[in-house]
Symmetry: C2
DNA sequence: ATTTTCTGATTGAACTGTCAATCAAAATGA
DNA sequence: TCATTTTGATTGACAGTTCAATCAGAAAAT
């Protein structure tokens, strides 16, 4: 039926009549790329259309307004990030240290940790202060992430008799992770992804020395 | 004739013929407020002028272009933040734990930690990914801050025979501080300034338990 | 034949940057 | 002390540009 759908993007012009959902995703991906390259302030509908190799009328056809396009793009990113860490936790070994390590590593997987995605996410974050809608979405993302971390921290605190407050330990880890993200967002980051992860593990080690080293969790099996 | 000049605007309207430098600062402050309220993307020269209670032609008279206005605003913020933490370190007690605590607390002083300033700084940060100039300025700010922290961390590591790498410990503290900032930027932050600082101190305690508690440094005098 | 997707020209609004005119204050001269 | 000139800060109207959104119609798809 749809022999077209194979080479949807990159160089070859992705000719007409892609299924609705696929076209929307293509345009959202183009939006992420454009925001990553030009920032939100200077991103126009024309830029997005050009990036996708389509006409700008089509962007309005699928998303009605620019505000809506941005909103849906943020939604897409937030869902992607959430799915990513949730799945990482789900497939991790079933003990707290392994799950916490999986959670912390998830945001740095190459699939989600691309320059354009980091940059776009940060751009939305920067605008969040003045846009209640973005604020709410970024906030909700953080809350869910934070709760998951806190629950794991609580398990570790109990297991290791650490003197920490779980909410605070969780916050230290989350903020550290977000800060490393900001560093890596720069086109010429001061350190690479591996060193970023090691920094996070150093943070986990400082909090939970019985369960973590700078290389990651200490396996309970020995 | 000139009965006008007194209260043309609301709060503190320095009417006509202000010296050049003062007027520029007034316009930059108006820019910070506007960016904080509307974000960079939707801030216009007209908005800034209105915020300052002046005509929009005057903004161009003093700053030529919008890009230049934004650039100078970022410069102003970066200088202010740097001066703030440098002075805090300079007046702190002359031992590493006290200086580190002063450094960490500096960014959360009410003078610099206002909603508009946090929000504006974050907005610039969000755009930094796509603007080499912003990138460089934000980067330089971070580098200087990081070097100062690292030097203090190194002193503590030596003093306490901690197993850390100074660069990584410094990075953990800096990223944690930046992450807390991001949290506090939200109009309805998930926790207050005091709790933010306590979180930072908890991070310092995890790294340097001989020198810090969640309340701050442990005074060497006892 | 009908519906859905897509294009590119067009429109109208908003914004930036310019400029001539205005005006307050400082400098100068009486 | 008071009038005159000079300076440069300030205004508001304007020109030119950019951009979001619309729309009529073309091109697939069903």
């Amino acid at each position: 039926m749809d022999a077209v759908s194979d080479t949807v993007e990159d160089t070859a012009p992705p000719r007409r009549k892609l299924p609705r959902a696929a076209r929307r995703v293509q345009l959202i991906e183009a939006t992420i790329e454009t925001i990553g390259a030009r920032g939100i302030a200077r991103t126009t509908m024309g830029d997005v259309a050009k990036q996708a190799g389509l006409s700008h009328g089509l962007v309005n056809f699928h998303f009605q307004t620019k505000d809506n396009l941005l909103h849906e793009t943020l939604l897409y990113l937030a869902d992607e990030f959430r799915d990513n860490w949730m799945e990482a936790v789900a497939v991790a070994d079933p003990y707290p240290a392994a799950q916490l390590e999986a959670l912390l590593r998830a945001d740095f997987r190459p699939e989600v940790c691309t320059p354009a995605r980091l940059s776009a996410w940060c751009a939305f974050w920067g605008e969040a202060g003045s846009r209640p809608l973005y604020q709410q979405m970024c906030g909700e993302h953080d809350v869910a992430y934070d709760q998951q971390i806190e629950s794991l921290c609580q398990s570790l605190i109990t297991a290791g008799a650490y003197p920490h407050i779980s909410a605070r330990a969780a916050r230290v880890l989350r903020t550290c992770s977000e800060g490393v993200w900001l560093d890596l967002m720069m086109p010429e980051p001061p350190y690479d992804l591996t060193e970023g992860l090691t920094t996070l593990m150093a943070c986990a080690q400082a909090l939970f020395p019985l369960h973590f080293t700078v290389l990651g969790r200490i396996d309970p099996a020995g």
